[in-house]
Symmetry: C2
Subunit: 382 residues, 2 copies
């Protein structure tokens, strides 16, 4: 009997395409799992980077595992796959109350966050009307970057009072987005402690005022990777570590070799006078994210690798149009421009995995090499 | 008999959502139609901004109309709706030759572009092997911004020679991307002339060498809007004018009032000490495009309007996370921060319509007001 010998390979794909190396994914997942176990803290991985049920299956030990999402669409999709302990980790708009209630009415254990008394008042009224004591975490502002009630403040206690018995106040959550500006390892350690202290102190203030507040939820990938201790924290939310990206590598959170995500592109032209190589992956494939623009090493729109995933000298995507990427040596490089003929396939590492993945309908999965071992769909939207 | 009285309105939608005002869309389409008719030149509108069959129906008089696309996915989708004169206006990668041939074998009049002899050699060999004389335009570099053979150069003639009889050489095309840096109206007029001259001169050089080259295709929205004459040009490709955006308005190509696209968002929080209002539309809804960053007026991630679409003082989205937008007054503004309670619905005008639309699965269509008159799907991917 003959056997099928056709193997799908990255070299057989049309470009651009999103490539995910499951070997690096698994390594990144295992590293974080061990780290959090070592710190004696629970995990609530954020699924907003992956937005993929296949990735969630590799990440979570069972459907009983906790996770966080950034949209109700994610909550619906992951609930459809069996997950039932889901935190919607974006401050709730009133026009989503009914949607949250519908999902909870179907048996989904969906919890939400609130950071102000006005939303809390509206949510408590809605909860009283439906009789659904929705579980709530109060969001704490640990670093002045975005949302959140001030730690252990009168405002925090007011929110808890307003929620009253109408909702199930579970505790507090915070996210140290400022860790993305911490290039020094000591600064990341300090930011992790700042994040921890704001959350734990706020939970204590709630408990001192008579609220139960059993949950203390923190997390960003840099602080999760650099926290020296997480006493009083019950769970860590981090997401981008699974795929990693050039922003993480530039921050010293893992290395370029840890980046599991890349965009496959073809060389379609050259402008030799300018030292440019043109590829058919522009910002539509890479996203417009320029997260390394203010880093010590600016990676442009992405760092260029060969088909095996090895970076090519100082070659980066210096500019991007909708479907065109312009590759050139980074400013000041002494390297020679590589000879990459028309049709050469390249893999371009992204600045920001969340943004780049969002531009694609699915992952072309490899396992360390360039052979295609699976195709995993992903979802987008709200 | 009772009648249904429920009217869908923007105020009944969950946020974020992409809103398209068909009244402004129609006005923008009609203005460009009249302008090109006045210049006595044909139109080949670029559908890469809209990626919507419903928008194409409003734009094009019939399925016989010419159009341009930026992906083969667009070609397939629009061919499925009946369009059959489609230019794939991105330099062709060899791994797409088979796909182009498949589409052409189904009767689609798909033409392609080439800007170098190496691709031309590969394409001619493929065309000889299939017997399909694919129509080709040679791309000209009119402004040193991206791709293209040098105008009227030996390289241009070499491409034509290499294509030989294997392909159907139809002429030349160019795109003055540099027009996006022309803030002065005289500079836009001059750039339009530079674009025209490069294309017409290249077509003349081809004809002088014995090639037919009947097609001379130019276009960008700024040059299409400011060209004083287009002698020798047969068709204009422009796309973003249909929706317009803050980049166009900042360039003086139309006004803010012409922008047909916006993102509906809800206020979800405040940080009064910082003068911040937080909404549930971040870069996932707006895109990471910062196209006005180097404009005289930096609009951040977008200009904030009320539900009726009227800009609110100097309120812009100064920063964006994945699902959070931070609104604040632009630097130096003397305006007072408006009082926008939790749940307030806002419409945020985008920097770049192509990038923002690409973040959404469809358009919530209004007709001048806030009543929802239709929902139009759009497509993404390759």
């Amino acid at each position: 009997m003959g056997r099928w010998r056709v193997k799908m390979n990255l070299s057989t794909l049309e470009t651009p395409a999103l490539v995910l190396d499951q070997r690096k994914l698994d390594r990144n997942i295992e590293r974080m799992r061990k780290r959090l176990a070592g710190l004696g803290v629970g995990a609530r991985p954020h699924l907003k980077t992956a937005k993929s049920i296949d990735v969630a299956r590799r990440l979570l030990a069972s459907v009983d595992a906790a996770c966080a999402v950034s949209t109700l669409k994610e909550a619906e999709q992951f609930a459809g796959a069996g997950l039932h302990d889901i935190l919607y980790a974006v401050g709730l708009a009133p026009n989503k109350f009914d949607h949250v209630h519908r999902l909870r009415s179907r048996g989904l254990g969906l919890s939400v966050i609130v950071d102000n008394a006005q939303t809390a008042t509206l949510l408590a009224a809605h909860a009283r009307a439906t009789g659904d004591r929705v579980p709530v975490l109060i969001e704490i502002d640990c670093d002045g970057q975005r949302c959140g009630a001030q730690p252990a403040s009168a405002g925090l206690l007011e929110i808890a009072d307003v929620l009253g018995d109408a909702c199930d106040l579970r505790g507090v959550m915070t996210h140290a987005g400022a860790s993305y500006g911490c290039f020094d390892d000591a600064a990341k350690v300090a930011m992790a402690e700042q994040e921890r202290a704001a959350a734990v102190g706020s939970a204590r203030a709630l408990r001192a005022a008579g609220h139960a507040a059993p949950v203390v939820s923190v997390g960003s990938t840099p602080t999760a990777c650099f926290a020296s201790a997480l006493e009083g924290v019950t769970e860590v939310r981090a997401g981008v570590y699974m795929f990693s990206d050039l922003v993480m590598a530039g921050l010293g959170v893992g290395s370029v070799d840890d980046i599991a995500l890349s965009v496959l592109a073809s060389v379609i032209g050259h402008q030799p006078d300018k030292g440019w190589i043109i590829v058919d992956a522009g910002w539509m494939a890479m996203s417009r994210d320029r997260g390394t623009a203010r880093h010590p090493v600016d990676q442009g729109y992405g760092l260029v690798c060969d088909l095996a995933g090895t970076p090519i000298g100082d070659l980066i995507m210096v500019d991007a149009n909708q479907e065109h990427g312009i590759l050139a040596l980074r400013a000041g490089s002494g390297a020679a421009l590589p000879d990459l003929p028309i049709g050469t396939l390249l893999r371009i590492l992204p600045n920001h995995a969340c943004a780049t993945a969002a531009q694609h309908a699915g992952y072309c999965v490899v396992d360390g090499g360039s052979e295609l071992v699976a195709q995993w769909p992903r979802f987008t939207g709200w």
